[in-house]
């Protein structure tokens, strides 16, 4: 959640890439295979990305799952803004799109997709939001990067890369759809 709190600014020159485009593609392919394996064919999987970059990751994962299973995989987005626990600490944010696939999520296996797992508060908010939309058979979590420092008892089921970080570091995921290129950057917080 905190990754969104740092205002956009030019990347510090010492930010170093920890995952490049081909690595991200490989990691997503692996996660797709893991989902198929654990869900025994993924026939009831619904992928829900958390805006902004989780949505693009979910779409990419869905494409890979479709290659593997030869079936259409429902994919959507879940905006968690109005379920955040820090709403009262900031001015209201603009809302992003919540787009639940036509058949809904009741009785399905929902895989939440996000770019970075950090405090776990985004995922808690996402679980609350899901609760108002339907009752999935089960909910799992796929993230591109797990940077640690959890503040809630939440863990990911599929992790692209475990990245031990210090709280003085920032993790920035850039994706071609939003940022023009695929990369994960590890940098230092401004003023540290």
């Amino acid at each position: 959640m905190d990754k969104h709190d740092t205002p956009a600014r030019p990347q510090a020159s010492d930010a170093r890439p920890v995952l490049e485009g081909p690595d991200i593609a490989r990691v997503l392919t692996r996660i797709a295979h893991e989902i198929v394996e654990r869900a025994k064919g993924a026939d009831d999987v619904v992928l829900l990305g958390i805006p902004t970059r989780g949505v693009f990751l979910a779409q990419r994962l869905a494409a890979k799952l479709e290659q593997i299973t030869d079936r259409t995989i429902p994919v959507g987005s879940l905006d968690i803004t109005m379920y955040r626990d820090d709403l009262r600490m900031h001015p209201p944010r603009a809302l992003a799109r919540t787009d639940i696939p036509g058949d809904g999520i009741d009785g399905r296996l929902v895989v939440l997709v996000d770019d970075v797992l950090f405090s776990g508060r985004t995922i808690r908010a996402a679980l609350d939001a899901l609760n108002d939309i339907g009752r999935p058979r089960a909910v799992q979590l796929a993230v591109l990067v797990d940077r640690g420092h959890r503040e809630l008892p939440i863990r990911a089921d599929y992790v692209g890369k475990n990245l031990p970080t210090s709280l003085r570091e920032t993790v920035k995921v850039q994706l071609a759809e939003e940022d023009g290129r695929d990369t994960v950057l590890l940098g230092a917080k401004a003023g540290q």
Partner: protein, 323 residues
């Protein structure tokens, strides 16, 4: 955005577009099995209605409840106001109860402004219609309806109403809806034409950002949307037109007149409609008439306004940076 919503003229273009975009997402909540968001949990909102209202009050109440706020309804009838209490004392009573926002409708123009700026209360004030002055959430829901119908739900996101021609017809003199709409539609880049009999055009209209015409038939072919206003007999204390029949002949919208509108144009009405007066049943029941849609959109718009004013620790800031 400012802390209170008193007048549509207080909104910048970016504020207005943010409210419309937020309302578009709020509208999607209405399609869910559980039409509720936890966003305003623990906030108390008072609906302070000194004037009769059905749709606005219900609409605000629905919006507040969908955002999980605690709602207190206060109507002047049968309350301390009918015993002679002043607005100030009512306000201080509410303040003592610890309310976070006051939605106020009042027969006197300027009452919400007074409430917001007098220092009587700390709460955010939202104008739900004051006298013949302003009704900003109505203008917002009208703009939302126009954008949805003319640009499309998704295509409209982030867009204003540049170049759209909107004609407002009828009792402009007594209409806070017309005033708010002229302000807001102008801010959003639309061209507004007022059409009314000369007696129902307010003094000073030449300073408004719109054009005025007395001839409905010539305005229709150049309109993307026509907004019909109700003739407000309850505010009329003089003869503004000879007979109702003459009024509806010259300024009422019937099937023949509707046929002169461009193919894509819509017919709007803020309600309550007086069928046979400003609008015929044929027009009111046609697909082009958005009156019912406007009511549904009203809930989404009010949810958006409440979220943007009360959802955080201060009102929403409009983004200056381009994404």
């Amino acid at each position: 955005m400012q802390r209170h919503l008193i007048s549509a003229a207080d909104l910048t273009r970016d504020d207005a577009v943010l409210i419309l975009d937020t309302a578009e997402e709020m509208a999607r909540v209405a399609d869910r099995p559980i039409k509720k968001l936890p966003t305003l949990r623990g906030r108390t909102i008072v609906n302070l209605f000194f004037e009769d209202s059905t749709r606005t009050r219900i609409s605000f109440e629905a919006a507040e409840k969908r955002l999980s706020a605690d709602v207190i309804n206060f109507t002047a009838k049968g309350s301390s106001v009918s015993k002679g209490e002043s607005l100030k004392d009512t306000a201080q009573t509410l303040e003592a109860m610890g309310v976070d926002a006051v939605v106020i409708r009042h027969g006197a123009s300027g009452a919400p402004y007074r409430l917001a700026n007098s220092g009587w209360i700390d709460a955010a004030v939202i104008n739900a219609g004051d006298g013949t002055h302003q009704h900003p959430t109505q203008a917002l829901l009208d703009a939302f309806t126009v954008r949805r119908r003319l640009l499309g739900r998704d295509a409209g996101l982030g867009q204003d109403l540049s170049g759209k021609r909107i004609t407002i017809v009828g009792d402009v003199l007594h209409s806070r809806v017309a005033r708010s709409n002229v302000d807001l539609l102008h801010t959003l880049g639309a061209e507004v034409t007022l059409v009314a009999p000369p007696t129902l055009v307010p003094v000073g209209v030449d300073t408004w950002p719109c054009t005025v015409s007395y001839d409905l038939d010539s305005a229709l072919p150049k309109s993307d949307a026509v907004m019909m206003l109700r003739v407000q007999r309850e505010r009329m204390n003089a003869a503004f037109f000879p007979t109702e029949r003459e009024y509806s002949r010259r300024y009422g919208l019937d099937g023949d007149r509707m046929a002169r509108l461009p193919e894509h144009a819509i017919v709007m009405h803020p309600g309550p409609m007086v069928r046979g007066m400003e609008i015929t049943a044929e027009v009111a029941d046609s697909d082009r008439c958005t009156a019912v849609e406007q009511v549904a959109n009203g809930v989404s718009i009010r949810m958006a306004v409440l979220y943007l004013l009360l959802g955080g620790n201060e009102p929403a800031q409009t983004r200056t940076e381009e994404k």
